[in-house]
């Protein structure tokens, strides 16, 4: 139909018939399948055994509570981070095995253990997963949890929309995981190099998996961005002027303005590619009047703002952690806010630096080079302000601070290599080398370090107990060692002339450096295991690590610490009034830290909804049907999505009021728990509050 496809097609099962010809002999895929199936069965069995299925549905899957949605975003992000890390292990070990013409080959490969067709999917999946469904959801999750708390709101501006955004992100992740077992994933690079992604060069369903995963997740991110911007602009507590907002919220504002304006571009670029592949248009083909560089332009016009979309929240987190652990307010706050917004602004002017070598004139390249280097100015300002925040402070190197300070040091190194590749004369010889790969991993490591710092820092706010500090340090040092061993040799390899995305490496002289990278991967693996152990130990010993007051670190400064830990579903019993930039620090200095509010008023809250979960399933089915060109199923699920949205629009009963007496009861409970710490009250049991279970449809 429309476009002739290779292999079998029939109206009922689309292209799925091709699966009969595929050989499922690859042990890695088998291992992954076992891992996923056993994991899913174990979780399901646990839920049934402990009678928590209903609880899961009422408290989590249908929730519109921004904190729970944020936690689910982070869980999805961490799971996909784990998957992306597996891909990284395979890339590094394979390349170390496949160096030199005489290197051995096994499992159908001439060198190493992956033939190009497999290796190409692995690096494509690694890039796509890490950016689209790992780093982005974790950051969106943290913003989801923190922004309403930091600005003193009860929930997001659009709680339902928030859940829909999560639903599509989950659908995208599931689709990518599905590609591992049903058919195969794209092998055209995570940027979808055109015309390599066009039908003649990529006739299989792999690129279609990539297309629909991107489409689903970018819908999610766009909706999330809209929501956070509206929340910040319209839902701030009395007294919370823009220039009293914590820098993390400022970063969230800047970053989501970037997301709201740039993600639609990605949607358009990928949609045009979809038309090429599905109905035979010629937007990005070499023939038929297509322009393949137009795709590259559109993609990077999203792609570079996306870089700042992920890095700004990281900067925001560093800006929250460093003052807390320096026991001092953020240095030059206004300058910091201005720098954040300047980075967001300049992010729009730099996209062409991804392809200086396309043959543009020296004038064009100079413009984009200077625009790119301008980003260095506000970034430099941030580094100085962080350093002078610690200046004359009391620096405590607890784990969140270790991560944050290391992120600052990484930023200095990554900034330097960024300024190198920003210059066209240098870029002509480093473009697409692993030097560039090392540079952007260096930048992504800043985000990862900030994220682990942020997760450790806000973990008690989310769950009411601290993560184990001892294992946290082990995790940090092993992760740091892995980063050094993987990426320092990669920088050197870039200078030696190693290109990215190689399946076979012709030069055995690079082997020692490749082996260094394998050592790094071993350290990374150890760090991941220690992280899992840290989670296990911390959850096991949660009663000992229980946080008693609202403020887990005793020197926190912003408003999210001015409520219970973890916060009740309504966040604040009474609407907070903000007096100062560092509100919680101000209250601490003035002895106003008591959470006993006395009389409470009734609270207006949104009701839960099952529709986001339904949209998640329908979105996944639609994506899957489109990948395999099962038109009837795609039509049915698309109609389902439209109907679900219309039905939601017709439901009037979407909110309820928590009576004042009920709020007072919960508040009293919370305060008593604090007083009774010695008695070791169990953590709030599932279903502690009856309200979370209220459904609207």
């Amino acid at each position: 139909m429309f476009v002739d496809v290779q292999g079998p097609w029939n109206p009922w099962i689309g292209r799925l018939g091709m699966l009969l010809d595929m050989e499922y002999t690859n042990p890695f895929i088998f291992f992954a399948l076992v891992l996923v199936v056993v994991g899913a069965l174990a979780v399901a069995a646990y839920l049934v055994y402990s009678r928590r299925v209903g609880w899961l549905w009422r408290e989590w899957l249908t929730t519109v509570d921004h904190k729970k949605i944020g936690i689910m975003y982070i869980v999805v992000g961490l799971v996909m981070l784990f998957r992306g890390f597996f891909d990284a292990i395979m890339i590094r070990t394979h390349q170390a095995m496949a160096a030199g013409t005489s290197s051995p080959g096994i499992m159908g490969a001439q060198h190493g253990y992956m033939p190009p067709f497999h290796m190409d999917q692995v690096f494509t999946a690694h890039g796509t997963i890490m950016i689209i469904v790992a780093v982005t959801p974790i950051l969106v999750g943290l913003m989801n949890i923190l922004v309403p708390l930091q600005i003193g709101a009860r929930d997001m501006a659009y709680p339902f929309l928030n859940a829909v955004g999560l639903a599509f992100t989950v659908a995208a992740s599931a689709l990518i995981m599905g590609a591992l077992f049903i058919g195969f994933f794209s092998h055209a690079g995570w940027v979808g190099l055109s015309p390599l992604t066009e039908m003649p060069s990529s006739p299989g369903p792999g690129v279609d998996y990539w297309i629909w995963a991107i489409q689903l997740s970018s819908i999610g991110t766009t909706l999330g961005a809209l929501n956070i911007i509206a929340t910040i602009l319209k839902m701030r507590a009395p007294g919370m002027t823009l220039l009293r907002m914590p820098v993390f919220s400022w970063a969230a504002l800047g970053t989501n303005i970037i997301a709201l304006t740039s993600f639609p571009l990605l949607t358009v670029a990928v949609s045009l590619l979809t038309l090429d592949r599905y109905i035979g248009t010629h937007f990005f083909t070499a023939d038929g009047g297509g322009n393949l560089m137009m795709y590259t332009n559109l993609f990077w016009l999203w792609g570079h703002p996306e870089v700042y979309f992920v890095v700004l929240p990281a900067f925001g987190m560093i800006s929250e952690i460093i003052p807390t652990f320096s026991e001092k307010t953020l240095f030059n706050y206004v300058s910091m806010v201005f720098a954040t917004m300047a980075i967001a602004g300049v992010s729009w002017l730099v996209w062409l630096h991804h392809y200086y070598i396309m043959g543009a004139s020296a004038g064009v390249n100079t413009f984009f080079s200077i625009a790119t280097m301008l980003v260095g100015i506000p970034t430099g300002v941030k580094v100085f302000n962080w350093v002078f925040t610690m200046w004359r402070g009391h620096v405590r190197l607890e784990t969140p601070m270790l991560w944050a300070v290391t992120a600052v040091l990484l930023l200095i190194g990554g900034g330097m290599t960024g300024m190198m590749v920003a210059i066209p004369a240098i870029n002509y010889v480093t473009h697409n080398s692993v030097f560039v790969v090392a540079h952007f991993h260096n930048m992504f490591l800043i985000i990862v370090f900030a994220v682990f710092g942020g997760v450790t820092y806000w973990w008690p706010k989310m769950f009411g107990f601290k993560l184990d500090e001892y294992l946290g340090r082990w995790f940090f040092w092993l992760f740091w060692g892995g980063s050094v061993f993987v990426f320092v040799p990669m920088y050197v390899l870039g200078f030696l002339g190693m290109t990215r995305r190689l399946d076979f490496i012709a030069h055995s002289s690079w082997l020692p450096l490749l082996l260094f990278q394998v050592v790094g991967i071993v350290l990374y693996t150890a760090s991941v295991l220690v992280f899992l152990l840290q989670l296990y130990v911390s959850i096991r010993d949660r009663h000992e690590n229980r946080v008693t007051g609202p403020d887990a670190w005793e020197t926190s400064r912003s408003l999210e610490w001015a409520t219970h830990t973890p916060p009740p579903f309504y966040n604040f019993a009474v609407q907070p009034v903000v007096h100062e930039r560092d509100e919680w620090a101000w209250r601490r200095e003035n002895g106003l830290t008591s959470l006993d509010t006395g009389t409470c008023e009734s609270i207006h809250m949104p009701k839960n909804s099952a529709i986001p979960a339904l949209l998640c399933v329908l979105g996944l089915v639609f994506g899957f049907a489109m990948v395999w060109r099962i038109w009837w199923l795609a039509g049915v699920s698309l109609v389902g999505v439209v109907i679900a949205v219309i039905v939601r629009g017709c439901i009037r009963d979407i909110d309820y009021t928590v009576p004042a007496a009920e709020v007072e009861r919960i508040e009293k409970d919370r305060l008593t728990v604090r007083d009774d710490e010695v008695a070791r009250q169990p953590a709030p049991a599932p279903g502690d509050n009856a309200h979370a279970g209220r459904m609207s449809g």
Partner: protein, 316 residues
């Protein structure tokens, strides 16, 4: 002459690695650029690094020192009121601004000096002015390279022979997907795109053997797209041309179509052609643009590299 300056800087900066560079000529390309284009790229790299180090070394030292000095229980005085300073603000914005300003000048100068189409450094180069440039047309196919010497009426696949001291003017296009032309230590990169023509001008100073490869991922045969580049003296180049004119096989458009079938060059095979269709380069662009030169790739070309299906598409 900036070259001396650069070598000196290089010596100081990378002294610990210099031993390696002498041991293997093919090591760190930084120490062995050949020809004005590669050399100037490296020159700008050094300028950039030196300028950045002015800000980065003190910033790193300051960060580490502050963490140490003001650690809890250290000797630093605690003063939470130190939250703003106009002086530091001027410094924090000013220093990066100055460095970026200086780098912007070099970015401008460098972009013109080594511009792929018309590099400034060749306009003043005596060797480039003295000789007539050598024209080479480059066509990439699915995973092979074809270098056509139109004036000599010969062509070479998966191998490149270049004369020393003569400006080389390249035109490049692709018969399949985008690739990226690059010869390590000799010349910077340029896209090779289907249906389009890009250009590259360069000059080489001394003979040697170098590595060329594609740097833009183009599919399963991408890793095997590396080829040897022999830079030879004028007489030797002429000798090779004479030999190729006598012995190669004819390259018509039809023969090219056959050559352009998807083929992974696992055996690193090279071919010599003569009697090259004089319009081949333009024909390829026209045919690609009209959709008459597309080779549909099989879906799972390389799942098993020992299989008959893969052998059909490889040179092993």
């Amino acid at each position: 002459m900036p070259m001396h300056w650069m070598r000196l800087a290089g010596l100081v900066l990378f002294a610990p690695l210099a031993g390696c560079a002498n041991a293997r000529q093919d090591w760190l390309w930084i120490f062995n650029p050949n020809g004005p284009l590669a050399t100037w790229s490296v020159y700008y790299l050094f300028v950039d690094v030196v300028l950045l180090l002015i800000i980065i070394v003190p910033a790193t030292a300051l960060t580490l020192w502050v963490i140490f000095r003001y650690r809890r229980g250290g000797h630093g005085t605690y003063d939470p009121s130190f939250r703003h300073s106009n002086l530091i603000e001027v410094f924090a914005w000013g220093v990066p601004l100055l460095v970026v300003g200086a780098l912007s000048y070099y970015a401008y100068e460098g972009a013109h000096a080594v511009a792929p189409y018309d590099p400034g450094v060749l306009q003043t180069n005596p060797a480039a002015q003295a000789n007539k440039p050598l024209q080479i047309d480059v066509i990439t196919t699915d995973w092979q390279w074809l270098f056509i010497y139109p004036e000599q009426d010969v062509a070479l696949a998966n191998k490149l022979i270049l004369p020393v001291g003569r400006q080389i003017n390249m035109r490049l296009t692709s018969a399949s997907v985008t690739n990226d032309f690059y010869i390590l230590k000799l010349v910077g990169q340029i896209y090779v795109m289907p249906g389009m023509r890009t250009k590259r001008k360069f000059l080489i100073d001394r003979p040697g053997t170098y590595r060329g490869f594609s740097t833009e991922f183009s599919g399963p045969g991408f890793s095997w797209m590396d080829y040897k580049v022999h830079v030879v003296k004028k007489a030797k180049f002429q000798g090779w041309v004479d030999k190729a004119q006598a012995t190669g096989q004819a390259l018509s458009y039809k023969r090219f179509q056959q050559f352009a079938e998807p083929m992974v060059n696992t055996a690193h095979k090279t071919y010599t052609f003569n009697h090259v269709d004089p319009d081949l380069f333009e024909t390829v662009i026209k045919r690609v643009k009209s959709g008459k030169l597309t080779h549909e790739r099989p879906m799972e070309l390389t799942e098993d590299m020992g299989s008959a299906k893969f052998r059909k598409h490889s040179t092993q």
